[in-house]
C-alpha cells in the first residue's frame, strides 16, 4: 500500500523550472532512496511533500491526505531531518530535541536518552558550540525518538563520521523492522545501496529511473576482468562492450548486462585463465547518468549551465 504518492509534481521559481513532473511512490514498510546530483530537485520535492512550499502542478498525498491542505495532520505522523540543520544558537541540544518532539505532539523520553547515548551527543551544550555533524545528530535524535510512520530524511549523514553513519543505519533498519517507511535522500550511494529497497534517480527536476536495485542493475553494466592464453581479438567490435583497458596480461572492460552471455561465449574461445566479475554498483549506475548528462552537455550548445 502506498503511503506516499506524488504525481507529476511541477514547481517553478521565476523562470527556473525546479521540478518538471516528478512521480514518487513509497509503500508501507519500504525504504526509498532518493538520489541525484546537487540542484536536481531533491530538497524542493521534499519541501513540497512537507507543505512548506506549494507545487504549481500535480498532486501529492501522504497517508491519503493532501500534503498542502492537511499538512498539520500529516506532520503528526512524520519525522523530518533537513539537509542543512540550523539551530538556535542560545538553546542547548537537549532543549531543542525536547521542543521538536513536543511540537510533533508525542513524547518518548526513554528512547530520547537512549538515542543521545547512541549518537554520543552532549545535550547540555549550546547549539552555537555544535559542529555540523552534532547539529545533524540533534535533528536525528529528535526524528528517531518520534514514533512516526514515515521518516523523511534529506541527506542526513553528510556531516557524520563513519561510526555515526553506522549508528544512523541501525536506526533506519530499526524503524524498518517496525514496519515504518523511510524516504532517504542521499549522496552516499553505498548507504543507499545498503539500506534502500527502491531507488529513484532525479535529474534536472525529473525522475529518470526508478525501481528496485536489482531491476536497475539490468540497466547497467557488469565489470569484467579477463586473462586469456591468447590475446582476445577485436574485443572492441563486440556489441555491448565498453571501456577496455589492458592490465598486464589481462583486460578490464564493462559489458551491458543483456549482452553478457554472448560476450562470455566469445571470450571463452581464447582460453580463459582468470575471470573476475563485479556486480554493477549504484555508483556505476549513477555515474552513467551523470556522465550521460555531462556528455550531452558537452555535445550541446557548449555547456551553458
Amino acid at each position: 500500500m502506498a503511503i506516499l504518492e506524488a504525481r507529476r509534481l511541477t514547481k517553478k521559481f521565476g523562470h527556473i523550472t525546479a521540478l518538471d513532473g516528478v512521480d514518487l511512490e513509497v509503500n508501507e514498510g519500504e525504504i526509498y532512496g532518493f538520489i541525484g546530483p546537487n540542484g536536481a530537485g531533491k530538497s524542493t520535492t521534499i519541501r513540497i511533500l512537507l507543505g512548506i512550499i506549494k507545487a504549481d502542478g500535480g498532486e501529492a498525498n501522504i497517508f491519503g491526505k493532501d500534503v498542502w491542505q492537511d499538512a498539520v495532520d500529516i506532520h503528526k505522523r512524520i519525522a523530518y531531518v533537513p539537509g542543512d540543520v540550523n539551530l538556535w544558537p542560545n538553546l542547548t541540544g537537549g532543549e531543542v530535541i525536547d521542543l521538536f518532539v513536543k511540537l510533533r505532539g508525542t513524547k518518548n523520553k526513554s528512547r530520547r536518552d537512549e538515542l543521545i547515548q547512541k549518537f554520543d551527543l552532549d545535550p547540555s551544550k549550546k547549539c552555537h558550540a555544535y559542529s555540523k555533524g552534532n547539529r545533524q545528530k540533534v535533528a536525528l535524535v529528535a526524528a528517531f525518538s518520534a514514533d512516526a510512520d514515515l521518516y523523511i530524511l534529506d541527506e542526513p549523514t553528510s556531516g557524520l563520521d563513519p561510526l555515526m553513519e553506522r549508528v544512523f543505519q541501525e536506526c533506519v533498519m530499526d524503524v524498518k523492522r517496525e514496519g515504518k517507511s523511510v524516504l532517504l535522500s542521499s549522496h552516499i550511494l553505498s548507504e543507499v545501496e545498503k539500506l534502500c529497497d527502491k531507488v529513484g534517480i532525479i535529474r534536472k527536476g525529473k525522475i529518470i529511473e526508478t525501481g528496485t536495485l536489482s531491476e536497475l542493475r539490468h540497466l547497467t553494466r557488469t565489470n569484467l576482468l579477463v586473462e586469456t592464453k591468447q590475446p582476445i581479438k577485436s574485443l572492441g567490435e563486440l556489441k555491448g562492450v565498453y571501456d577496455i583497458t589492458a592490465q598486464g596480461q589481462a583486460v578490464k572492460f564493462q559489458v551491458d548486462t543483456e549482452e553478457l552471455d554472448s560476450v562470455i561465449r566469445y571470450v571463452s574461445q581464447f582460453g580463459v585463465i582468470r575471470l573476475e566479475s563485479a556486480p554493477p554498483t549504484l555508483e556505476d549506475l549513477f555515474m552513467r547518468y551523470y556522465e550521460g548528462e555531462a556528455h550531452a552537455e558537452r555535445a550541446g550548445a557548449g555547456g551553458a549551465s
Binding site: E95, D98, L99, F100
Partner: protein
C-alpha cells in the same frame, strides 16, 4: 622569548585594520559627527546665557543627575559645561560598547570560530594576535580622542577651548581604553564570545549604575566607577587631567592581566568553568510561543530598561516646561502653543508621539523575527512538525502586540515617575498612562503592516521602517518644518487625538483599528498561501 610571544604582531595589526576598514571608520565618524552636531545644536538652541541658565535649573533634579551625571559649573552654565554635562557620560558609555564589541570580535569570537587556530599554526607569537587586537582598538580610541578634541575645538565656540576639547576627547578615549582592557580580560575568562560580551556589558552597565546611584546619593561611591572618573575631569570647567591618567593606568593593569592569562591558558579554553546548559527543556519552552519568548527574552528586557530610562529622561524635564519655553525660541516653533491649555500638557502630548514611535520599534522587531527565522532556515523545523502556519505566525504576532503595549506602558511609567518626582504640581500618573495608550491603535497599524508584508510581500518588509521614519519626520517635526496637514494624515500617528489637550475622538481610533485588522487578516491569509523559504 619576545619572538616566541610577539612575532608578526605588526602584520596582524594591519590585518585586523584591514578586516575592519569599514567598521572602524563608521564608529569613529558617527561618534565624532554626533558629538560635533550636538555641540552645534546646543549652540543654536541656547545662544545666550539667560537661556542656558534656565536650562541649568531644569537639570538639577535626581532623575537627570542619575542619567547624565551631576554637572559642573551649573551656576555659570557655558556651552562647554553644558556639553560636558549632558553628553560626556552617555558618549563615553557608547565608546565603551564600541571598544568591547571590537575587542571581542577579534579575540574570543575569532577563537570560537577556529580562526585563531589557523593564525597560531603560522609562525606568529603566542600573544601576537591578542596584542595586535589591543593595539588596534587602543589606536582607535586614541584617534577618537583627537578627532573629538579637534572637532569640538574647530567649532570655535567660546567656552570650548583647545585644552578643554582635547580633555573631552581624552576622557572618551580613556573610557574606551578601559573597556578595551575589560573586553580583553573577560575574553580570557569566558570560553564563548556571547559570554565575553555578556560579562563585559555587565561591567559596563554596573559602572554606569554605580555612578548614577553615587551621584544621586553619595558622591564617594561614584569614584568606584570609570564613569565617575571621566566626569571627575570637569571638562570645560576646571579641566582636571589626573583622572585620565588614573583610568589609563587601571586599563593598563587589566591589559597586562589579560596578556598574562592568555599565555597561561590553552587555546579555546577559558578560566571560568563554562556551566553546562539544561539537558531538558522546561515545559515553558515547549511551544512556538514559549520558544519565541525565550529567543527574544534578552532583547525585550533590554528594550524595557532602555525605554524606561528614555521615558524618565523626558519626564525629568517636563516639570520645567514653562520656563523652558519662555526662554527658548525654537521650542515654541516645535510646539506652536495653543490657547487655554498648559504648556506642560501640550509638551506631554508631543513627547508621547515620539515615545509611541520609539516603542513601535521593539514591537516591529518582534514581528520581523518571524522573517529572520525563515531566512535562517529555522521555521521549517517548526512547520515540518504539527504546527500550522497560523499558529506559528500568531506566536510572533502576540509577542509583537503585547510588547508594543508593555513598552509603551513602561516608557509612560518612567516618564510619569520622573515627572511626578521632579514636578511640584504633578500631573497624575494615570494621565501619563492614558496619554500613551491612545497611541496603541497607531502601533497596531504598524504591526499590521508588518504582518501584511511578511505574509504577502516578504521582500518588501523594509518599507515598514521607512514608513516609521516618514511618520517621525512629518508628525513629530511637522510643526518645525511647517508641512501641510495632509502629510501628517498619511501616517497613522497623525490621526491619533492629542489627548488630553484635544478631546478623545473615537472615529479615527476605530478606523485605525479597522485598518489594522484588515492588514493583519490579509497578512495571515498570504502567509498561509505562500512558499516558505526555509
Amino acid at each position: 622569548m619576545s619572538k616566541q610571544l610577539y612575532a608578526h604582531t605588526e602584520r596582524l595589526s594591519r590585518f585586523i585594520i584591514r578586516r575592519d576598514r569599514i567598521r572602524i571608520p563608521i564608529w569613529l565618524f558617527s561618534l565624532t559627527i554626533a558629538s560635533v552636531a550636538t555641540a552645534l545644536a546646543l549652540a543654536n538652541l541656547y545662544p545666550n546665557q539667560e537661556e542656558r541658565q534656565a536650562i541649568a535649573k531644569t537639570m538639577i533634579n535626581p532623575a537627570t543627575t542619575a542619567i547624565v551625571g551631576p554637572g559642573y559649573g551649573l551656576d555659570h552654565y557655558t556651552l562647554g559645561a553644558m556639553m560636558a554635562h549632558q553628553m560626556l557620560g552617555i558618549t563615553a558609555f557608547v565608546v565603551g560598547i564600541m571598544s568591547i564589541l571590537l575587542v571581542v570580535r577579534h579575540t574570543r569570537a575569532d577563537e570560537e570560530h577556529g580562526r585563531i587556530e589557523i593564525i597560531r599554526s603560522l609562525p606568529t607569537g603566542r600573544l601576537s594576535h591578542l596584542t595586535a587586537t589591543i593595539l588596534v582598538v587602543c589606536g582607535v580610541n586614541v584617534l577618537l580622542a583627537f578627532m573629538h578634541g579637534f572637532g569640538l575645538y574647530l567649532l570655535n565656540i567660546e567656552s570650548m577651548d583647545l585644552e578643554g576639547s582635547l580633555l573631552y576627547g581624552a576622557a572618551l578615549g580613556a573610557t574606551g581604553l578601559f573597556f578595551t582592557a575589560i573586553g580583553a580580560f573577560f575574553a580570557q575568562l569566558s570560553d564563548s564570545s556571547r559570554g565575553t560580551i555578556g560579562l563585559s556589558f555587565a561591567v559596563l552597565g554596573l559602572a554606569y549604575l554605580i555612578r548614577a546611584v553615587g551621584d544621586v546619593s553619595n558622591q564617594t561611591l561614584s569614584w568606584f566607577s570609570p564613569f565617575g572618573w571621566v566626569q571627575g575631569t570637569e571638562v570645560y570647567v576646571n579641566n582636571y587631567w589626573w583622572p585620565i591618567f588614573l583610568t589609563v593606568g587601571i586599563a593598563f593593569v587589566f591589559i597586562i592581566l589579560a596578556l598574562y592569562l592568555n599565555v597561561r591558558r590553552d587555546l579555546e579554553s577559558g578560566f571560568l568553568p563554562s556551566k553546562p546548559g539544561r539537558k531538558h527543556a522546561s515545559s515553558f519552552l515547549l511551544s512556538p510561543l514559549g520558544l519565541n519568548l525565550r529567543l527574544q527574552r534578552t532583547g525585550l528586557l533590554a528594550w524595557s530598561i532602555g525605554l524606561f530610562v528614555f521615558g524618565a529622561t523626558y519626564g525629568s524635564v517636563l516639570g520645567d516646561t514653562e520656563s523652558f519655553f519662555e526662554e527658548v525660541e525654537i521650542m515654541q516653533e516645535l510646539l506652536r502653543p495653543k490657547e487655554g491649555v498648559s504648556l506642560t500638557e501640550q509638551f506631554l502630548t508631543l513627547l508621547m508621539t515620539i515615545i509611541s514611535m520609539v516603542c513601535t520599534i521593539p514591537a516591529l522587531m518582534a514581528m520581523f523575527k518571524l522573517k529572520g527565522e525563515e531566512k535562517n532556515n529555522r521555521t521549517e523545523h517548526v512547520l515540518a512538525r504539527a504546527v500550522s502556519r497560523t499558529h506559528l505566525m500568531s506566536s510572533y504576532f502576540i509577542i509583537s502586540l503585547v510588547s508594543g503595549f508593555v513598552m509603551l506602558s513602561i516608557a509612560a511609567l518612567g516618564m510619569g515617575i520622573a515627572a511626578t518626582t521632579a514636578m511640584d504640581n504633578g500631573i497624575a500618573l494615570s494621565m501619563f498612562m492614558k496619554a500613551a495608550w491612545v497611541y496603541l491603535p497607531a502601533i497596531c497599524v504598524m504591526i499590521g503592516i508588518a504582518v501584511f508584508l511578511i505574509g504577502v510581500a516578504p521582500k518588501l518588509t523594509g518599507l515598514t521602517w521607512l514608513y516609521l521614519v516618514y511618520s517621525y519626520v512629518v508628525v513629530y517635526l511637522g510643526g518645525l518644518f511647517q508641512f501641510p496637514d495632509w502629510m501628517a494624515k498619511l501616517s497613522p500617528y497623525g490621526h491619533i487625538p492629542k489627548w488630553p489637550i484635544e478631546d478623545m475622538a473615537f472615529t479615527p481610533v476605530a478606523m485605525l483599528t479597522m485598518i489594522a485588522l484588515v492588514l493583519i487578516g490579509s497578512g495571515y491569509i498570504g502567509y498561509n498561501k505562500r512558499d516558505i523559504a526555509g
